[in-house]
């Protein structure tokens, strides 16, 4: 009973707190660029405003146009339920759930691409085709990285993998972990549309990917997309934290344990946010045709990680 309550609480924390993480990254970037930056609560105000606005739909579009953002939000929120954050368990946990996580995220992207094409704006179509290319290329390294970690742990369940990692010695860094982390970190950048792959703040037609897809959306639909995007970023980062640095996660459901778990989790998220902000401020976006190369390297690393699991088995 208490486990279920803790799981619901950590899920709500992830879903409701996600916009704050995006605001934090934007704020750190603003500080680096010597700007004042916006209020940390601004995303919530934006979401509220958008939810109260009228939803404008292009005259040529079908019902799919309104349906796509809902699918995106729904699939992302399901993905959020699969990831343990503060507590060593998740709302949804079953054997093979890491594969479900990969494809639930892909489902959201698929519908988003359809919705963008349905809006019959040429930019949105361009964005959709680019997004389709990136997600097709990012799928292999994401799966390979996760499979490598799963084989190493001997578990097909994200929560069990996290528990296995927690039982390992801190200094026993395995080659599989290091290489899989490199692959998954590169994929995480591509999946969440962050800097070397896509610039989340651009509105320049030649370079934007995700922003081009959502150009036609407004009102509650846009709010859902923005919210889902924030949740997705948090989910992917939480997955990285859970798989590679879960130390501090609450093992038992005491108040002190949960507080420690929450503190450790938030600290790691803040550190990751700062790392992302520094990276985004210091490197330039890749040219569109360099993205396959970037993800190709990630795929090579993912394959290396999987083969390492066979090499290092004692």
């Amino acid at each position: 009973m208490t486990t279920a309550a803790a799981n619901v609480l950590q899920y709500l924390l992830l879903v409701l707190g996600a916009p704050l993480l995006r605001a934090l990254i934007a704020r750190v970037k603003a500080v680096i660029q010597r700007r004042q930056g916006t209020n940390l609560w601004r995303p919530y105000a934006d979401l509220l405003k958008l939810f109260r606005k009228e939803d404008l739909v292009p005259p040529d579009s079908s019902p799919l146009f309104r349906f796509a953002p809902m699918m995106l939000a729904a699939s992302t929120f399901v993905a959020a339920a699969l990831v343990p954050t503060v507590n060593q368990s998740a709302l949804l946990a079953f054997a093979g759930d890491f594969i479900v996580l990969v494809y639930v995220l892909a489902l959201g992207r698929f519908f988003m691409g359809l919705g963008a094409l349905d809006g019959s704006s040429s930019f949105a179509g361009m964005g959709a085709s680019r997004e389709a290319m990136i997600s097709a290329l990012a799928e292999a390294p994401l799966l390979l990285g996760l499979i490598a970690v799963a084989i190493l742990a001997g578990q097909g369940n994200i929560v069990e993998i996290v528990r296995w990692t927690l039982s390992q010695n801190f200094f026993d860094v395995s080659a599989v972990h290091a290489v899989a982390f490199a692959a998954l970190a590169m994929v995480a950048i591509a999946e969440t549309g962050r800097m070397p792959v896509d610039n989340p703040t651009t509105h320049l037609e030649l370079t934007m990917i995700h922003e081009a897809m959502v150009l036609e959306y407004s009102g509650p639909s846009l709010a859902l997309i923005e919210w889902a995007q924030a949740v997705k970023l948090t989910v992917v980062l939480s997955l990285l934290i859970g798989l590679f640095a879960p130390w501090g996660m609450a093992a038992n459901l005491t108040l002190a344990g949960l507080a420690l778990g929450l503190g450790a989790y938030l600290l790691k998220l803040v550190v990751l946010a700062i790392v992302i902000a520094v990276l985004e401020s210091s490197i330039a976006k890749l040219r569109m045709y360099m993205v396959p190369e970037f993800l190709g390297i990630a795929t090579a690393l993912g394959a290396l990680a999987v083969v390492f699991t066979a090499l290092l088995r004692r």
Binding site: F171, D172, V173, A178, E293, L304, L311
Partner: protein, 220 residues
């Protein structure tokens, strides 16, 4: 103190993993500065291993050698290389002769090859398989970097990576060579980098580029 002991005892195996990562980073690097930083990181991992050996065996000589590694390979040579890049005013890309994806794949293959190569020797030597494989992988990937890059500066880095591999192999099979040999090796290294730096300048001045592949036309 207990934590330091634990870290030192684990440092050998874990450091090998980081060495693999730096090797892959070198293979994927597209700019001179990235390669130099990757080399500096690699040397830093090597220095940590030397210090770990020094801590375990309580030998002062190894501490001195670890200090020398930090001084020369982590700080000195990368600084010299950065200055060289600056002074040569050459384009910043590394002139990879094949796409970075293939380069990473081949390097991954070399890592497997080194694992299979050291497999038979591991039992006799009683050292960790990871570390010996890392040493062989460094040597192999150094050689690969040398043939896959067309820039004179990258060949310097490739040679240094190769040397790092030999150094690591010596470290784990002998647990620290005599001081005088190590100092000789370091002297050799500095002289080598110095000479190659001068050479790079001469190549640039004579041919107005640093592309080694174009030097073939010099055959008589």
């Amino acid at each position: 103190m207990v934590l330091v002991d634990l870290a030192a005892s684990k440092a050998m195996g874990s450091a090998a993993v980081l060495l693999f990562l730096t090797v892959l980073m070198l293979a994927a690097a597209k700019r001179m500065s990235t390669s130099i930083v990757a080399f500096a990181l690699q040397s830093a991992v090597l220095a940590a291993q030397v210090l770990a050996v020094a801590h375990i065996h309580r030998s002062t000589e190894s501490y001195v050698i670890g200090g020398l590694v930090i001084l020369i390979k982590v700080l000195g040579i990368p600084y010299a290389l950065f200055r060289l890049v600056d002074k040569l005013q050459a384009p910043r890309d590394v002139k990879l002769s094949l796409s970075p994806v293939y380069s990473v794949f081949i390097t991954a293959g070399l890592i497997f090859l080194s694992f299979t190569a050291v497999h038979t020797y591991v039992q006799e030597l009683r050292v960790s398989e990871d570390v010996l494989a890392a040493a062989v992988a460094l040597i192999l990937s150094g050689a690969f970097l040398m043939v896959s890059h067309g820039k004179a500066l990258m060949q310097i880095i490739a040679l240094l990576v190769l040397e790092n591999g030999i150094f690591l192999a010596a470290l784990i099979t002998t647990f620290g060579m005599p001081m005088i040999i190590e100092i000789g090796v370091f002297f050799d290294l500095i002289m080598g980098v110095l000479l190659m730096g001068v050479f790079a300048f001469r190549i640039r001045d004579t041919f107005e580029h640093l592309d080694v592949s174009k030097l073939r036309r010099l055959r008589g």
